[in-house]
């Protein structure tokens, strides 16, 4: 069942086109990664999903409802953590958490206390004294303490330490176990790789690539490092390999997935002493898209 359905979404700010036909579909129980460089349109997309901005054209449906018109209904089952968490300086963290969970209409006192303890937050401090990481914790606790069906998270871990990041991943995994859906926008590709089932890459307001992580991997190359008994003659002539580095008998190269079979057949005759293969990382995938236009971001 589709929780989020975005089709042909266009958003213009005056003459500037921020989103130029975004399509996205998050199904129930999925953890969906939304990645892209700064200014690509991630936050704009999320804000339109939340009814903060109005789409110029296209359809944005969440739980089958219109994101702009039925915002309040949708928000009853949605929890959001903004990228830049700004809180009221003269309220305490505890007050903000209570207020947010009450507004959403599903406060869960037990879970809230558990999260406060796990994230090691002092809820009696005024928000003005919190660091960026602590403000983020307040927003995360408020989000995960309520019984939402959909979690929209905009770079939620940018201020957290590794221990807290780990805690965050456990919260997301638990949400998934409970059958909830998560849309995670992030820069941290390793995080997306660890957590997400599906990924969309956005660039200059357009989705470049979408699908399950496994499928996307096929679109890119694998790095192989092979130590042979005799040096490989003319490695440049082997079809389908590039980025070659030679160190004595060790050959390191990138190979396109569809050429893997042919390449190995040509190298095996030289005798294999050692073979290492690194699967394509999301970073390779990401960089590939941004390098294509000679515009690495």
């Amino acid at each position: 069942m589709a929780i989020v359905e975005i089709g042909g979404l266009i958003k213009k700010f005056g003459n500037f086109t921020a989103l130029n036909g975004v399509d996205l579909c998050v199904n129930q129980g999925e953890i969906y990664g939304f990645i892209g460089p700064n200014g690509a349109g991630k936050t704009t997309t999320l804000r339109i999903m939340l009814g903060i901005l109005k789409a110029t054209s296209g359809s944005v449906k969440i739980f089958g409802k219109d994101a702009w018109k039925d915002a309040v209904e949708i928000h009853k089952k949605t929890a959001y953590v903004p990228g830049e968490v700004n809180l009221w300086p003269n309220l305490t963290g505890g007050e903000v958490i209570d207020f947010f969970t009450r507004l959403r209409g599903s406060p869960n006192e037990k879970r809230k206390n558990e999260l406060i303890e796990r994230f090691q937050l002092d809820p009696s401090k005024k928000c003005r004294t919190y660091s960026k990481g602590n403000r983020q914790k307040v927003a995360l606790i408020a989000a995960f303490a309520s019984d939402a069906e959909l979690y929209v998270l905009d770079e939620p871990t940018s201020g957290l330490d590794p221990l807290m990041e780990n805690m965050f991943r456990r919260c997301v995994s638990r949400a998934k176990e409970e059958g909830k859906s998560v849309l995670l926008s992030s820069h941290i590709l390793s995080e997306v790789e660890k957590l997400c089932d599906k990924v969309s890459i956005i660039r200059k307001g357009k989705i470049m690539e979408s699908g399950p992580l496994e499928e996307l991997r096929h679109l890119t190359s694998t790095r192989m490092t092979i130590e042979t008994k005799r040096p490989v003659e003319n490695p440049e002539s082997v079809k389908g390999i590039h980025d070659i580095e030679i160190k004595g008998n060790t050959l390191s190269f990138l190979v396109d997935t569809e050429d893997l079979d042919g390449v190995l057949k040509q190298i095996v005759p030289y005798g294999i002493a050692k073979l290492e293969s690194a699967p394509p990382t999301l970073e390779d995938l990401f960089m590939r898209h941004y390098k294509e236009d000679g515009d690495p971001s």
């Binding site: 901005l53 009853k76 207020f99």
Partner: protein, 534 residues
Amino acid sequence: MMSNRFAGTSFLIGSLLRKNRIKIPIWILSIAFSVIFFGKLIPDMYTTGVDRQIMAETMKNPAVTVMLGPGYGLDNYNNGAMMAHFMLLFAAVASGMMGILLTLPHTREDEEDGRTEMIRSLPVGSSSSLTAAISVSALSQLVLMLFVGWGLYFLKLEGMDFSGSMLYGACLGAVGIFFSALTGLFAQLMSNTRATSGASFVFLITAYIVRGIGDVSSEALSLISPLGLILRSQVYVKNRWYPVWITLALSLALFAVSLYLCSVRDLGAGFIATKPGRSKASKLLTGPFGLSFRLLRTPFLAWAVGMFALGAAYGSVLGDLEGFIESSELVRQMIPEQEGLSMTEGFIALIIAVLSILGAVPVLMFTLKLRNEEKKNRTEALLSNAVSRRGVLGGYLLVALLMSVTVQIMSALGLWSAAVAVMEEAVSLKTLITAALVHVPAIWLMSGLSLLLVGFFPNRTGFIWLYLTYAFFVIYMGDMLKLPEWTYRLSPFGYVPMIHADEINFVTLLLLTFIAALFMFLGFIGYERRDLEG
């Protein structure tokens, strides 16, 4: 060691001047221009000696003294004496505000937002930021002084000589420097921006009130207030410089204390610490109204108390006013009695009108609060919860409307309680409260206009303050400047009936309320339809 503490100060001064290259000239020019322009008007307003003498007699009125300060040189009420009497106090309050608002951003605000930390990581001394901020503010006041001094002198008016004009400028500069140094001190004591600006403005308002009470009752009380002290310079009449020197010496002392406190405290810390708050929200914090009330609770109470005090300050002169009118046959002849309106009643009506416009300030602040929240990126997280835009906007509007009724009742109560103490035949509380409440629809109209701006022109909300300043100016100065009728009609407050004079005109009041409601309705529509910034 000593020089290390101030390393890089001159560089910081340069960068602050560059950063404020628009703001500082705007402050200086708008204050200097208003003062000089006012000076230019005076000879046209009062052409004959008889005119001036009539004015001088009315100026002996204690109610006027409370508003404008003591009149010096009333026996020879020339351009200079009028200029000093009408405008020096207001201009001094304005330069005091300028001092506060130029110092605050580069002391506690920079520190709270983490900019001071970045500057301190450079080869810059621990006292350099504070010194630079105060220096830039003081420098601006110096330029203001020269502008005002030369400007007034070049009007070449009789009674406004060079030394008097320079003293006029120096008075404004000294008050501005004093409030800069004071804000610098509060920035050390308080641990956050809000408390710093709050303390500075409360001090300014208190200085104004204490002076007002002092001017009609006790000279010593007036001298305690920096505003009262500076008026004792008797510009253009006796030209005394000692108040300027004392004010500057006090400023220097405040600055020295701030430097000491700055050197013994940690970055980011204050001396008046914030207590830990409650770790759970109270039962009231459940919806948008709960939030807006919780956020505005402190200013709400402060304004309620402040308006009561201001009402009482004005009310305290009513006794003297009766005596003043009885004592002078001349005054009674000169001031044509308006129909059904005694002079005392006329003054009460004026005071209530002035208090109402001041009372509109918090109402507009509260109405615009949501726009401020939006600028600070706080509405995004709020509206991602199950709460409608209508509800959030309505929450702030409701507190604002509540404030409008509260300030009116509080200032009427203040006025009444003082009047009872000093008047032989006190005005009835009911009359005063009614007189105050008839202004409420006009305040609502201003609030509705603000809401309209929030909905459709969120980047132009500052306009409402210009409009309110206009309304204030017309009511406060209109009689003295002999402004034509239509200038009153341009502000909603010009339509409010004078309670003693007219029968309450319910049609006008209903019409004002209706227009206010219409503006509010449109404002809601605009806010629900537009993109939010954050």
